[in-house]
């Protein structure tokens, strides 16, 4: 009974936006579960989609920590994603034209470091200038990186891409043999459409746990950073940089930190992608990724980590969900090409009816312990002023 009361209390503490989003997540999960149980949705493919969603969620988190926190306009999401993917691929692949053959952990470190260095290089000349200069420079960077990858064949294999990337856990003691060791299962819930769980499924489970770990770690770090004096300075810079400067904040340094942090998280998404897909090519650096991620952040609500997570998942749902629409025979045309249109319509509707996004920050961002600490101060005064008060 008390559990139920707790749940009711929790629900009534949520804002309307949170209730709406929670409700639609539950509904969507129910639909997915139905699909899985009836065999309409292949569990391995489903997990692959979860992986994609996690990847987009990571990139959205990264962009949110640049645009959402500090107001930095970065149009090179795809480039940093590509640096992560190619960094990991070139370090770990057997057929890498560069080094190759290293442990994926080493590849991860190298990829993230390269992304960080790249972010500093692009940040040094642009972060002192107005925001639009960074936008243009980053747009240029995205193309430069893509064209370098495409044309410098001796380093990147050009349009052929990099093959032979190991799975992330291939060198790990137990996890490397886990998919083969697990028994193949065939669950029949509805006769005629069995659910098969074989080696590919378990491999996908490993992939998912990797991306879940990446997303969770990034989310926790960003949540802490967002609700701290550090995050508060960034938010001040976003609203009014001059104010932050006048109060003695070295805004250039703060913007640089925010930019590097976001770029590293985007590269993390790329590292995951390389070990998920086991093949990377210059096509993965297409600028469209950048704009999907922007849509995700704006849709979720700029400045909100949860919003970025949610937006990332929604964008993947639209991107991949449109594939399934063709299965409904009553739709008289091919729906898959509609996905760009759908995303366009979605963003127009959001801008028109809810410009702050679906789930903007809902509460004040002070770390709860700090508030609790200050409230143990003796006698908190209420505002009791003699005489009339114009501000009541």
């Amino acid at each position: 009974m008390s559990l139920r009361n707790d749940a009711v209390d929790y629900w009534s503490d949520l804002t309307r936006a949170e209730q709406g989003v929670t409700g639609s997540i539950v509904l969507f999960a129910a639909v997915l579960l139905f699909g899985l149980v009836t065999g309409g949705l292949n569990p391995t493919y489903f997990l692959f989609l979860v992986g994609l969603a996690g990847m987009y969620a990571l990139m959205s988190l990264g962009l949110n920590s640049q645009w959402g926190f500090s107001g930095l306009i970065n149009f090179s999401v795809a480039a940093f994603f590509g640096i992560g993917a190619y960094g990991a691929a070139l370090m770990t692949s057997d057929s890498s034209p560069l080094l190759g053959g290293f442990d994926p952990i080493f590849g991860l470190v190298v990829a993230l470091s390269v992304a960080a260095v790249m972010a500093v290089l692009i940040g040094v000349p642009t972060l002192r200038l107005r925001a639009d200069y960074l936008a243009i420079a980053s747009l240029g960077l995205a193309e430069v990186v893509r064209l370098l990858v495409l044309n410098e064949r001796q380093w990147t294999n050009g349009s052929g891409g990099v093959r032979g990337i190991p799975r992330f856990f291939d060198n790990w003691p137990v996890l490397s043999t886990f998919p083969e060791a697990m028994p193949g299962l065939e669950i029949v819930i509805i006769p005629g459409s069995p659910i098969e769980l074989g080696t590919p499924f378990y491999q996908m489970v490993l992939n998912i746990s990797l991306v879940v770990a990446f997303v969770a770690a990034s989310y926790l770090v960003l949540r802490r950073a967002h609700r701290s004096p550090w995050g508060r300075v960034l938010r001040t810079i976003r609203s009014d940089e001059d104010l932050a400067r006048a109060l003695g904040k070295n805004t250039y340094s703060f913007k640089m930190q925010s930019f590097v942090l976001g770029s590293v998280i985007m590269a993390l998404a790329g590292v995951f992608y390389a070990h998920l897909n086991l093949f990377v090519s210059p096509g993965d650096l297409n600028p469209i990724t950048t704009f999907y991620v922007w849509v995700a952040v704006i849709l979720g609500g700029s400045g909100s980590n949860r919003g970025a997570l949610f937006g990332g998942v929604v964008v993947v749902t639209i991107r991949e969900g449109t594939r399934f629409l063709n299965e409904f025979a009553w739709i008289p045309f091919d729906t898959a090409p509609l996905r760009l249109l759908l995303i366009g319509v979605l963003i127009v509707l959001i801008m028109k009816f809810r410009p702050q996004g679906l789930l903007p920050p809902q509460r004040e961002l002070i770390w709860p312990d700090a508030i609790a600490g200050s409230e143990t101060e003796p006698e908190r005064h209420t505002n009791q002023r003699p005489g009339g008060d114009a501000n009541e």
Partner: protein
């Protein structure tokens, strides 16, 4: 509290208080040589052909409320921007507390104890008033990204202390009922108060106020004057630009008059008000 009394009072009753701060200033004056917080020497700045600051020289003595007045276009805001590091000077020097801060970055100038406010209150979207206040304190441990994770206890402790300070200052300013209101939903006058309160959290030695009562209703104007006077008595030095002559003359001593980018004269409010050159500058325009 005398603040609340004078809220209801007419502005004419402020004169005794103003005289008292004058008296305070003159007593410090007599004690040996002057203690200078801010020294502006031969400062120059031009934008293309327009000379905005023309060899301006003045100084601000510790413990005073110094007014900076002048007709429109006299270069008051430019001087503020030069002093606080927002503009780069073409020549001359700015010294804060004996340190040459000419052409330093604003945050470095702030590190020397000089904080400024802006003419139009700056809005902080998505923050509550007390969050907006918490930006004020300088050198918070939580402003280092690494410390957030290596020493979270120190961060929380400092944050709690700052929060309590913010609450205390909001109470002193009698706007603590606004603490959890969105910072963008309060009136323009209240924003000015919050801005002043926040600047105090930065513990400045000298605070530059750019038109603190522009667009503020008379009641809040008196409140602001009282607060500035109170903070001054507690040891903060003020340099303020203001167009409201009544406000400046009742509050500031000495007053520096700027005209066409250079210092026309400096003196007590009474001297200024009767000086021919000042009247000429205000009425005759810059010819």
């Amino acid at each position: 509290m005398s603040d609340t009394e004078s809220l209801a009072d007419d502005s004419s009753t402020e004169t005794p208080a103003a005289e008292q701060s004058t008296a305070d200033a003159s007593t410090t004056d007599q004690s040996a040589e002057k203690d200078i917080v801010l020294e502006v020497e031969d400062l120059q700045k031009s934008f293309g052909g327009l000379v905005a600051t023309d060899h301006a020289t003045f100084e601000v003595e510790r413990g005073t409320i110094t007014g900076l007045i002048g007709p429109n276009g006299a270069g008051k805001s430019t001087i503020f921007n030069l002093i606080s590091g927002f503009y780069e000077a073409d020549g001359g020097s700015v010294t804060v507390n004996g340190t040459d801060v000419t052409n330093m970055e604003p945050y470095q100038v702030a590190d020397e104890g000089l904080i400024r406010t802006f003419q139009t209150p700056r809005k902080l979207e998505g923050m509550t008033v007390r969050e907006a206040m918490l930006i004020g304190p300088r050198n918070q441990p939580g402003e280092s990204f690494l410390t957030l994770f290596t020493d979270p206890d120190a961060v929380n402790e400092a944050e709690s202390a700052n929060l309590a300070d913010a609450q205390r200052i909001l109470e002193e300013f009698e706007i603590d009922h606004l603490a959890t209101q969105p910072a963008t939903d309060i009136s323009g006058g209240q924003m000015k108060l919050v801005e002043l309160a926040r600047a105090m959290l930065a513990e400045p030695e000298i605070l530059l106020l750019d038109e603190p009562v522009a667009g503020v209703n008379p009641t809040l104007r008196n409140t602001l004057a009282d607060q500035i006077r109170r903070l001054n008595e507690q040891g903060t030095t003020f340099l303020l630009i203001e167009h409201d002559m009544e406000f400046v003359m009742s509050l500031a001593d000495p007053v520096v008059v700027l005209n066409q980018g250079s210092v026309l004269m400096e003196g007590e409010p009474d001297e200024i008000q009767t000086d021919e050159r000042v009247i000429e500058a205000y009425l005759g325009g810059g010819t």
